[in-house]
């Protein structure tokens, strides 16, 4: 008898687990009803294209097979092999430069917006005359559309433009007016406007974060003899670390996938800045559509996605404690 019940126990537990699960589904009917529109939409315009993208990365999809859509010839991992090892692959052209530039761009912009954002948040968290005007004014670049940022800065970077006027005629930093939209300087012509547009948002986020830190802990630290710098390192930064962690990830993702500023700043809207300023998104779009090479393009975007997943993995390991504490 005892043996009998023991045998049945796991079965019973599983059955009751299932019953609990069913009850939870039934109890949450309302929640599911709220989710239905979103789920349908995300399945159709997120999951479906993604699955197609995976499938397309194994197909020979070019101008001749385009009409066959998903029935184009299956070529296995040829697209991946071609991208990695065949330097004649059209989508591969200039990709090395684009990867290098994107890495430099993403790192410098991310650090730039975080440092500038935090610095301005701390400066604007002080009490000084005209503070609210300064705060509002600082938000302006954030509201300028990114395609306007490309056009506007492209205009300002011109050889006889206003930036060279300041650098050469006013500050005398260079003997001759440098070219900013040509050669190795190009990367700065992209980085600086991106930082300019990006830091106000970080400033807003950090300001909100700073305001959650109680004033009295600074007073206590001052009485204990801790200098401003020590207070910043030992109190402000650790308190802001969860906010910094989240924004760091969003910034890296945004900057690696950056497209608009480069595409409106260069080549009269054609968006090719040359090997010193080309980014991954502009390069991949241009090459894939230029050569109607959608199989390779899909393979490249999937590899990019996995590279990003690895970055997220590293990020998660680095900030695990802060993220779980929230």
């Amino acid at each position: 008898m005892g043996l009998h019940t023991e045998k049945n126990l796991p079965v019973k537990a599983a059955a009751s687990k299932r019953a609990v699960w069913r009850k939870r589904v039934r109890d949450n009917k309302f929640a599911y009803m709220l989710m239905v529109p979103t789920i349908i939409f995300m399945l159709l315009v997120h999951l479906l294209p993604m699955i197609q993208g995976f499938w397309m990365s194994f197909l020979k999809l070019n101008q001749f097979t385009l009409g066959k859509y998903l029935k184009a010839p299956f070529v296995g991992i040829d697209n991946y092999v071609g991208l990695l090892f065949n330097s004649d692959n059209p989508v591969r052209q200039g990709l090395n430069f684009a990867i290098r530039n994107t890495a430099i761009y993403a790192v410098i912009v991310t650090i730039g917006v975080m440092v500038m954002g935090l610095m301005m948040a701390m400066l604007l968290n002080r009490d000084f005359p005209g503070r609210s005007i300064a705060r509002t004014a600082m938000l302006l670049p954030w509201v300028v559309p990114s395609y306007v940022v490309g056009v506007l800065w492209g205009f300002m970077w011109q050889q006889n433009g206003i930036i060279n006027y300041f650098l050469v005629d006013v500050l005398h930093l260079y003997a001759e007016k440098p070219f900013w939209l040509l050669g190795p300087n190009t990367i700065w012509a992209i980085i600086i406007p991106t930082i300019w547009r990006g830091w106000p948002f970080l400033m807003v986020i950090f300001l909100a974060g700073l305001q959650t830190i109680p004033e009295d802990i600074y007073e206590a630290a001052t009485i204990d003899g801790a200098g401003k710098l020590r207070q910043f390192w030992n109190m402000t930064l650790p308190m802001l670390k969860p906010v910094i962690a989240v924004q760091l990830l969003f910034q890296i993702i945004n900057n690696v996938y950056s497209y608009n500023i480069v595409s409106t700043m260069f080549g009269n809207g054609a968006g090719y800045p040359g090997e010193w300023g080309d980014l991954l998104m502009t390069a991949l779009t241009r090459q894939s559509f230029g050569y109607w090479s959608f199989g390779s393009g899909s393979a490249a975007s999937i590899m990019l996605m996995f590279a990003m997943l690895m970055i997220v993995g590293v990020w998660y390991r680095a900030f695990r404690t802060e993220l779980n504490a929230q």
């Binding site: 929640a31 993604m50 509002t136 205009f155 433009g161 206003i162 300019w196 807003v204 996938y257 998104m281």
Partner: protein, 285 residues
């Protein structure tokens, strides 16, 4: 006394540095407006004085004639407006479900919402482009060069992040409100509709503005999925403008100013809601 003086000196320095950065920050925007009031000859010779000779308001008239900006404007307003309405509605419904109910699948859904942000847009671009072509070839239903094609794509893209913003907003509203309402005889839907929705208006406004501004800024998909000026949006229009009239900086700067103004107006009218809504999610997690 000396420490006091030292402090006031450093305070003065910090304030000066702050204002210097503020001026440098807004300078490019002022420069855009300032340039737009010059004739093209003056611009090509290089403007180096900050005094305005005679405002060339005519640029602001000519820009509408040279390029069909009125149509681009209409298209952007229509597409971004409809996207905001749709994605905003989805975000309110799903955000509420995720904030309040612990239902089977809610964790999976939250995870997938966040992971959509990792996917490069280009990964959707090729499949969606080919899928749109296929739908047209198979069913005769045009998708490329249509409003609904663009609205569909934008709604799908901006829904996940909007759900996340709305969710953090709903989380910040105390649960007791619905609980006491249900005790008073309200259904779950009535509690949501009559009590929570009015309270979450600031969050809804913030999310809507976020969606609108993001859609207003989108170039890559609009560039690929629209080829006829009947449905092209402002970013595409500006990019085409640069391509055709690359030396007409007078018109280009006027157009840049005009497309920035609506965004600024919307933003500053709703700044209070927008910032509190955005930071609520970012700071509280």
């Amino acid at each position: 006394m000396s420490t006091h003086r030292k402090r006031s000196v450093s305070s003065f320095l910090l304030t000066s540095v702050t204002w210097l950065i503020v001026i440098l920050t807004i300078f490019p925007i002022l420069w855009m407006v300032f340039t737009s009031l010059h004739s093209n000859d003056q611009i090509l010779n290089g403007i180096t004085t900050f005094s305005l000779p005679k405002p060339q308001w005519v640029n602001y008239i000519n820009m509408w004639d040279t390029v069909n900006f009125a149509v681009y404007f209409r298209n952007s307003l229509l597409i971004c407006g409809a996207t905001t309405l749709l994605a905003g509605t989805f975000a309110v419904l799903a955000g509420y479900a995720l904030a309040r109910f612990d239902f089977p699948g809610s964790k999976l859904f939250s995870m997938s919402i966040i992971s959509t942000q990792l996917i490069p847009g280009i990964m959707f671009l090729f499949p969606i482009y080919l899928m749109f072509l296929w739908i047209k070839n198979t069913f005769g239903l045009p998708m490329i060069n249509t409003y609904w094609g663009m609205i569909l794509v934008y709604t799908a893209f901006y829904t996940p992040i909007s759900i996340w913003i709305m969710r953090s907003f709903f989380v910040s509203i105390p649960r007791d409100l619905e609980e006491s309402a249900t005790i008073d005889g309200c259904t779950k839907f009535q509690a949501f509709y009559k009590i929570i929705l009015p309270l979450s208006l600031p969050g809804i406004i913030a999310t809507s503005i976020f969606i609108f501004l993001t859609a207003w800024d989108e170039l890559l998909f609009a560039w690929v999925l629209t080829t006829s000026s009947d449905v092209q949006t402002i970013p595409v229009g500006i990019r085409l403008f640069v391509g055709q009239y690359n030396t007409r900086y007078d018109l280009l700067m006027a157009a840049s100013t005009v497309v920035t103004v609506p965004v600024m107006v919307i933003f500053f009218m709703t700044q209070k809601y927008f910032i509190s809504g955005m930071t609520a999610g970012a700071v509280k997690g």
